[in-house]
Amino acid sequence: MRPPKRSDGPPFFGRSFGLDLEVDFACDGLPASFADVAAPRVRLELAPRTELAAVWPARSTRLRTWGVPGQRPVMTLDGDEGTGYLFRVKGSGWFHVTSDGRFVRCAPVRTSRGRWQRSLIGQVLPFVAVLRGLETYHASAVSVEGGAFAFVGGSGSGKSSLALSLVMRGARLITDDVMAVMTDGSGAPRAHHGFELANVRFDALNRLTPAAIAELGPQVDEDDEGIRIRVDVAREPVPLAAICFLDRSSAGPLTERIQPADPRLLLGATYNVSIREPDRLIRQLDMCATLARRVPTFRIRIPADRGPQEIVREIVDEVMTDLVAS
C-alpha cells in the first residue's frame, strides 16, 4: 500500500473539536469550516517519519503509555518542553504536536487512510483541543431541541449506540466518542462537534436492520470491532442540556438524577489526563465547577440483558420529563 501523499492542491479548511483545521491531505469526515465564530487554528501536514525522528530529542519524558502491562505498548505519548509532544501509535504512525498545539505533523505507516486517521481523530486532535484551551470528555453527544445531551462512559458502555439511536429518532449527532467543551461569552458550557463519523460495533450492528444502518449514513470503513459510518453533525456549538453517566454494573432505576452533581464523576469523565500544567489543571477544575453548577447530570443504568437501542425511548422520556419539571 502506498503511503499517503501531500495534497497537490490548496489545503482544506475544516472545523472539529472546536478547532479550525488547515489540512494538506484528504481527511475523512472532517466538516468544512464555515462558522462565523473564530476558533483556534491548527495546521496539519504529512511528513516522513525520518523527519519527525530527526527533530525529536533523544531524551524526552514519557507522559503516558497505553496497552497491556508487560507487553509492547499500543501507543505512547512523550513530551519535550521545546519540541512538543510525540504520539507513537502501533499500526497507525507517529504524530508530532508542537508545544503550543498549532502544528501537527503526521507520519502514518503504510495502512489505510481510515486506520491511521482513527488515531488522529480519536487521540491526537482531542489532545490538541486541550492544548488550545478546550476541555474534552469521554462522551458521545447529540443535539435535541437545541440542547446537547452527552453520554459519558468508557469503551463498550453503549454511548455510541445511544447517540445513534437518538440520531435515528431525529436528533443531530454532535460527536461520537470525544466531546470538546468550551464556555461561551455568557459562561455557558457548549459542546463542539467532532468528525462526521460514528463507530458502530458489530454487536450493536447486529441489532439494527439494514434499512436503519443505511439511514444513518454511508459506511466509510471497518476494522476488527465494527464499522465507521458517515453521519452529519450539528455544526454550531450546542449548549449542554444534560450529562448522562452510563452504568452497566449496578441495579436500580433506569434513570436517576444526580443531585447535587458529583464532582468526582465530572472530573473522572475527562478524556485527557496527560496535560498537567497548572493552567490546564485549573481550567479543568473550573470547567468541572461550571458543569456542576449549570448542567443537570443523570445516571443511566443499562440492564445487562438489554441494548441501549431498546431503552432509548424510555431514557429520553424520563430525562426530558425531569428536565422540564426542574
Binding site: P263, R276, I282, D286, C288
Partner: protein
C-alpha cells in the same frame, strides 16, 4: 518555619495559610482541592470546606472555630477538635501551611 503538626493547645496561637500551588472550588456538598504540584485532587465535606474557606479568609484557626461553631451550631470544643484533625491532614498533604506564633 512551618509547624509540621498542630496540637489542640497550640491551635489558638498559630496562623494558617494556603500556598499558591493549592486551589480549591466549592460544589454543593463538597469542596475539591487541587494540588498543582502533584496534580492530585482532594475532597472535603461541606463542613471541612467551610473551615477551609474561613482559614483562607482569616488565617486564624481560632476565628475559624468560632465561626463554624456559630454557623453549624456545634460546641466550639468539638469544632476545635475537628479543626485540629483537618489542619494536620491538610498540612500532611501539603495543602496548607501552619505557621508558628513567631511567624505571625
Amino acid at each position: 518555619m512551618t509547624e509540621p503538626t498542630l496540637s489542640r493547645d497550640a491551635i489558638e496561637h498559630v496562623r494558617v495559610s494556603i500556598p499558591e500551588h493549592v486551589v480549591f472550588r466549592e460544589f454543593d456538598t463538597d469542596t475539591v482541592l487541587l494540588n498543582l504540584r502533584t496534580g492530585q485532587y482532594h475532597g472535603l465535606n461541606k463542613t471541612a470546606g467551610r473551615m477551609l474557606e474561613h482559614l483562607q479568609q482569616t488565617g486564624s484557626p481560632k476565628a475559624t472555630s468560632e465561626a463554624i461553631a456559630t454557623e453549624f451550631r456545634h460546641p466550639q470544643d468539638d469544632v476545635l477538635d475537628d479543626l485540629v484533625e483537618l489542619c494536620n491532614a491538610l498540612a500532611e498533604r501539603g495543602l496548607i501551611e501552619i505557621h508558628a506564633p513567631s511567624e505571625a
